[in-house]
């Protein structure tokens, strides 16, 4: 990439005579994963528009599954074509990077979303209403909860199949997010996957007030954070005169002098750069749910429909950490000595904060929310390593963690009582007696969260700690193990509750799911154990994918 100030991507052509405008050149093949998903999303909209209600569900399910699978295939193909390694480069005139991390994370996101689709489509758990199978989404989200309109919708057997296109849009955004190679693309991608998520949060069939509340909170705070992100972008732009990662990086490294001396002598120093970088960090840390930008997490996780929560918890983290990695490793490596100490603090706060507060939670979903915060802390430890191992270990951890999370939330959807999902921990007492299998599966996920050996959680934790230690963050590792010890306590508590406490008389029942959820959970368990026992292959994959293109 040339480092001239007025360069770049498809949409940012320099002002000047018409003939200078270069014809944008886009490598459709290399963008195919994104394009497929977007296309499918649009198709989904059309389906909603034109197909009769009865057929939509099947059609949407088909479209989503096929498109996601296809996109995944495309990613594989790219990876096989060495786009992850030797042929890695920046596509779409500098907008999107096609390199190892991008492909690895896109692959992960696609698989996760594929599994998530299964949970979205599950229709066996809720008792049939008026002879219609129903899923976990409101019949008519616009209708007032408990109003006639809703009654009617339910009676008519409406279902909001719109969730599938929404999911696909979100996925599209997530695919771009970690691959974005300039700040604008980053911002757009962020919004593209955030907005559908806001809506999805509001669509729960049961506990609709909670659901809507979570949506509002998520939306407002999300918008707030993206404002920070955007302002940061503005400052960075002001500092470097460009929004492309490479361009900024060059300026940071001092290869290119800053454009405007006037600005220079006013600002005097790197204030713009530092403040800008910090604010962009804020935006991303919000998405990964790091303390103190985490407070939305528990409420949103609790209120959102559980399948959505699972999807968010898994996929959003992957995408956000991908973006964070790229930003720190590509744009700001020159600034390492400024942001590392700050992130140290954030990581420590996040690990301890998440673990400690989780101890006193009484709701499964909130518990998992806090555990996800703690895990964000562990991953940050890997990010801070700022070495090749750091990247690969984070990639591996993300892959491992996302499947465990998805599986765990899928199990949560199974445990139900009259009011829908029974998420109060107290109700889980004696689950191990009622249905040992489900309890055992959940126990496996919890143990993986706790990082017990022979589960993916352990391999991941070891990987990031190892990287951190190599990166000279030994103390962080110590804090990490302490936090894990604290965290272990509440995972154990749940296990105790399930196995050693007497079942309550009015305890919840475990719904028998259809093949969809079953397979989702099955995949979760499988990945957990495989990555735990034989992680080598995936570690290799991650370490091959560990290099960012610039």
């Amino acid at each position: 990439m040339s480092s001239a100030p007025s360069v770049h991507s498809l949409w940012m052509t320099a002002a000047g005579p018409r003939d200078k405008i270069p014809t944008p050149h886009i490598e459709y093949g290399q963008l195919s994963p994104v394009l497929i998903v977007v296309g499918a999303a649009v198709l989904g909209i059309l389906v909603e528009a034109f197909l009769p209600r009865r057929q939509r569900y099947a059609a949407q399910l088909f479209v989503s599954v096929v498109s996601l699978a296809a996109a995944f295939a495309a990613v594989i193909a790219l990876a096989a074509g060495d786009y992850g390694t030797s042929k890695a480069h920046v596509a779409a005139m500098g907008a999107i990077a096609v390199d190892g991390p991008a492909l690895f994370l896109q692959g992960t996101i696609l698989l996760v979303s594929l599994v998530a689709v299964f949970t979205f489509a599950e229709r066996r758990l809720d008792p049939q209403t008026h002879g219609n199978r129903v899923d976990s989404f409101a019949a008519q989200p616009a209708a007032v909860p408990g109003g006639e309109a809703e009654e009617a919708a339910v009676r008519a057997g409406f279902t909001s199949t719109e969730v599938f296109p929404l999911l696909l849009f979100a996925v599209a955004g997530m695919l771009v997010f970690p691959a974005a190679n300039d700040l604008l693309t980053l911002f757009v991608a962020l919004e593209v996957f955030s907005l559908p998520l806001y809506i999805l949060c509001a669509l729960a069939r049961r506990h609709r007030l909670l659901s809507q509340e979570s949506a509002v909170k998520y939306f407002l705070l999300g918008a707030f954070s993206s404002a920070f992100l955007l302002f940061g972008i503005a400052l960075l732009y002001g500092y470097a005169g460009t929004v492309t990662y490479s361009g900024i990086a060059d300026v940071v490294d001092g290869q290119v002098s800053r454009v405007d001396p006037a600005l220079a002598q006013t600002m005097g120093n790197d204030a713009l750069l530092l403040i800008g970088g910090a604010m962009v960090l804020v935006g991303l840390l919000f998405k990964v749910g790091a303390v103190p930008f985490h407070m939305w997490t528990p409420d949103v996780y609790q209120g959102a429909p559980t399948p959505v929560t699972g999807f968010m918890a898994a996929a959003t983290k992957v995408a956000a950490f991908g973006a964070l990695l790229r930003l720190l490793y590509v744009v700001l490596p020159g600034l390492r000595w400024d942001w590392r100490p700050v992130l140290w603090g954030v990581a420590i706060l996040t690990m301890l904060g998440g673990a400690v507060v989780a101890i006193t939670q009484t709701d499964v979903k909130r518990l998992l929310a806090y555990s996800s915060i703690a895990h964000a802390g562990f991953i940050l430890a890997g990010v801070i390593a700022t070495n090749k191992d750091g990247v690969s270990s984070v990639l591996f951890y993300l892959a491992a963690y996302s499947f465990v999370t998805l599986g765990a939330f899928a199990v949560v959807t199974l445990v139900r009582d009259a009011g829908g999902e029974a998420t109060q921990l107290s109700k889980w007492a004696g689950l191990g007696r009622r249905s040992p299998l489900v309890a055992a599966v959940f126990a496996v996920f919890l143990l993986a969260f706790a990082g017990i050996p022979l589960t993916s959680g352990f391999a991941g934790k070891f990987a990031v700690f190892k990287a951190a230690a190599e990166g000279g963050a030994g103390p962080l590792v110590v804090v990490g193990v302490i936090a894990s010890a604290v965290a272990a306590f509440f995972y154990i508590r749940v296990i105790v509750l399930m196995f050693f406490n007497e079942p309550k008389a009015d305890g919840p029942t475990v719904a028998v799911p259809s093949a969809l959820t079953t397979s989702a959970i099955g995949i979760g368990v499988a990945v957990t154990l495989v990555l735990g026992v034989a992680p080598q292959y995936f570690l290799d994959l991650a370490s091959q994918a560990g290099v960012f293109v610039r």
């Binding site: 007025s6 002002a15 919004e191 809506i199 407002l220 600002m267």
Partner: protein, 99 residues
């Protein structure tokens, strides 16, 4: 005049917006404050664009507007639903989930 002043203005607007988010209860108003923050960013972009003498900033500003519009669509939809079910647009009323 010193272009930096635009920057100061932008930051001022941004801060005002942020303060609004923190202080106002009405969801709509909060949301408007967010929009204000976004626009502060726009101002910054444009100012910088002028300084640097390239158009990137301005183009970003356009994108921002689009995104903001999209946010309005989604945001209003959500807020309105909540309003209908609760008959209140106060953010503080939506606090069933805590601890």
């Amino acid at each position: 005049m010193n272009p930096v002043n635009y920057l100061y203005l932008a930051s001022l607007l941004f801060t005002i917006g942020a303060a609004g988010v923190l202080l106002r209860r009405n969801a709509i108003v909060v949301f408007m404050c967010v929009e204000l923050m976004l626009n502060a960013c726009n101002l910054a972009f444009v100012a910088f664009s002028r300084l640097h003498g390239n158009l990137d900033g301005q183009i970003v500003a356009f994108f921002t507007m689009v995104v903001a519009a999209a946010e309005v669509v989604v945001g209003l939809a959500i807020i309105v639903t909540v309003f209908r079910s609760r008959h209140s647009a106060s953010v503080d009323d939506a606090s069933l989930m805590k601890l």
